[in-house]
Amino acid sequence: MSEIILEIKNVTKTYPGVVALDHISLDFRKGEVHALVGENGAGKSTIIKCIAGAVKPDSGSILLEGRELAGKKLSRDDGNGVEVVYQEFNLAPQLTVYENIFLGNQIKKGPGGILVDKRAMIEKTRALFQLLGIDIDPEARISSLSVAYMQFVEIAKAISRNAKVLIMDEPTATLTTAEVEVLMKNIRRLKAQGVTVIYVSHRMEEIFEITDRCSVLRDGQYITTVNTKETSREALIRYMVGRELTESYPERKAAIGEEVLRVENLSGNGVSNVNFSLRRGEILGFGGLVGAGRTETAEMLFGAARVEKGDIYLHGKKISIPNPRAAVNLGIALIPEDRKRHGLILGRDLLENMTLPVYRKISKASFINFRLQKRLGKEQVDALMIKTPTMEQLAKNLSGGNQQKVVLAKWLITGSDIIIFDEPTRGIDVNAKQEIYKLMNRLVEEGKSIIMISSEMPELLGMSDRLIVFSEKRQVGQLTKEEMDQASVLDMASGDK
């Protein structure tokens, strides 16, 4: 058993009304990959913030190699050995890779060190990348890199500062399968070099692939730490939710009817030649890797991106969708992947969020009928079981699952009958996921049609009536319910046949 490098002792942190961390004690060993798991709101992010010094715990201590860290802000210079790779990167997009690696820490030369030693920094960066097995040009601009590569730069930056503990917050959320593989390889390399990796993720497969130990948090409480090898997915989920949860998908009895939407040779927004039809009461899945062209296609259907070629037919009639407004009027709705940026107006209240598209419809002589607005909102809050104290609650104060329901409510009030869900359950906890699935079922049972983009294979297979698989900005295949299985989808999505 190797030595303990980072120890969290009895840490408590409360926010108004919530105990985010309740006397948490955890230890991390040198050179291990340690997963932190738990539903949303379990306290994972708060722990990370405490370790990183972004948040000061109310009580307790955090020891790195015996040194107290609690409440001290991490700064670049003190090099105290803890580095965090956040979901949102701290990179300067206009600068090159090597400039970012050495940001604030440049190698200098010349009299008094007034010049930067470009060559030395490039060389060092190259050496660092070689060590980590990353293939990036040190002189490339950050803005020209893909998200995955930006993440590698972040990791390299952390390592260049002699990180002993590297915290990764949902590192694979935006990566494609191939990129995840590279990340896993990198993590193993780091581990071999004695770096401790704290790995926060929702994705079970990765946790079982890469981690040594796994600590479970629930509602700010420490539940247990297990050796990953000695546990199972079911056991872990049981710890997380505190009860048995069947990973099954709710049944539905939707009658699949006539064709409502047909797309022929649709090209644009980087995607080419998409063909499919959508029927009434059907959930059509869009499968494939992130960046394969699924969201891009959805954007065209919603008028958020320009169609270059091809035709869209709604109820057999050819239509054009020049902008989202047109899509909304045609009854096509999009529930975007990034609900905080694209789906909601976080600083406004629930009611405003839900009724924004229908303001004109519920106004007389442009004066809003507030009674009607409230009634429409109330109906949806009840129907979708949105948990909120009042209708005036700001959208940003709701949990992920409830936020997603608000976005959905918006489109139900609008009366949309084709709803595109882009990663409907991203960042939503296990129980809320089930609720979202049930809602989707109810919608198709009521005769609406759904297009669901998802990167979660079980969800895709469990919920879709039919599947369209994308790869490298092209549609590569269609699968019926009978033909669907993990292997065939993966095979198609990997492309290159």
Partner: protein, 319 residues
Amino acid sequence: MKTLKKIFRGQVLSIYIALIVIVVLFSILSPNFLKLSNILTVLRQVAAMGIMACGMMFVMLLGNVDLSVGTQVSLIGIVMAHCMVKLEMGILPAVLIGICLGLVIGLINGFVVTYCKIPAMIATLGTSWVFEGISYTICNAQPIFGFPSGFSALGQNLLFGIPIPIYLFVLCCIITSVVFNLTSYGRTLYAVGSNSEAAKLSGVNVNFMKITSYVICALFTILASIVFLSRVNSGNASTGIGQEMNVLTACVLGGVCFTGGDGQISGTIAGVMIIGVIQNGLVMLGAGEYVQLMVKGLILIFALSIDSVKKVIQSRKTA
């Protein structure tokens, strides 16, 4: 009680307290400050600024700004004066021409910001120079006076002992407040200002909102310009210069968020009053124009810092 709370929520209460403190301070320092005649002077002075501030709020709620309102006032004023004096038109035709010109100005600003995609601050700085240049060209840098009789009544006469511009200011505030709080246009303004991307994806025509906000801003400026012209009773190309900073400072001081999506008319009124009171109070104390400029500059920076600090605190709370 609830509506009262709504009106005074957030920064608005503290800005009214600040206003009272400033008034008390000046009335101690200068015995003439609280005299009725001086109060009327202050109100008369703030009326035009307040009318412009109402218009500015439409633009600022979307996260934009209109730095050309000052020279808009000059240009519209000069054109109306030119029509009345040099072209010997009646009051009504001249005002109509002024209104048309204002609408065109609003459309130009809206177009430049929306379709040329220039940051509003730079775009309207540019247009403000254009407007200023045109004003000086039209009047050849000479004041124009000798308006038809009756024109000055609007700016100078009293109605029930209160200057007419004050009624106009109050009317503008009521209209603005109603539009902001009760109409679909107003609520959409707040939504777009808070998150224009999400609003667009909810089917809102964001470009329409941007352009119309500039046109509405120009409409208020037209009114302000008429008030200015009749009060001074002479058209001068330098009338409006610097007004945009007064208006901007008043709005920001009143809690209108510089990045959009937040702000109430009740706050702006207080902001306008503070600027007016300070301007007047400094004059009473014998401070010159340059001291006023310094003080106003400091206030603007102070107000903007409040805005930023507020955001920092908010982000800490949510973190």
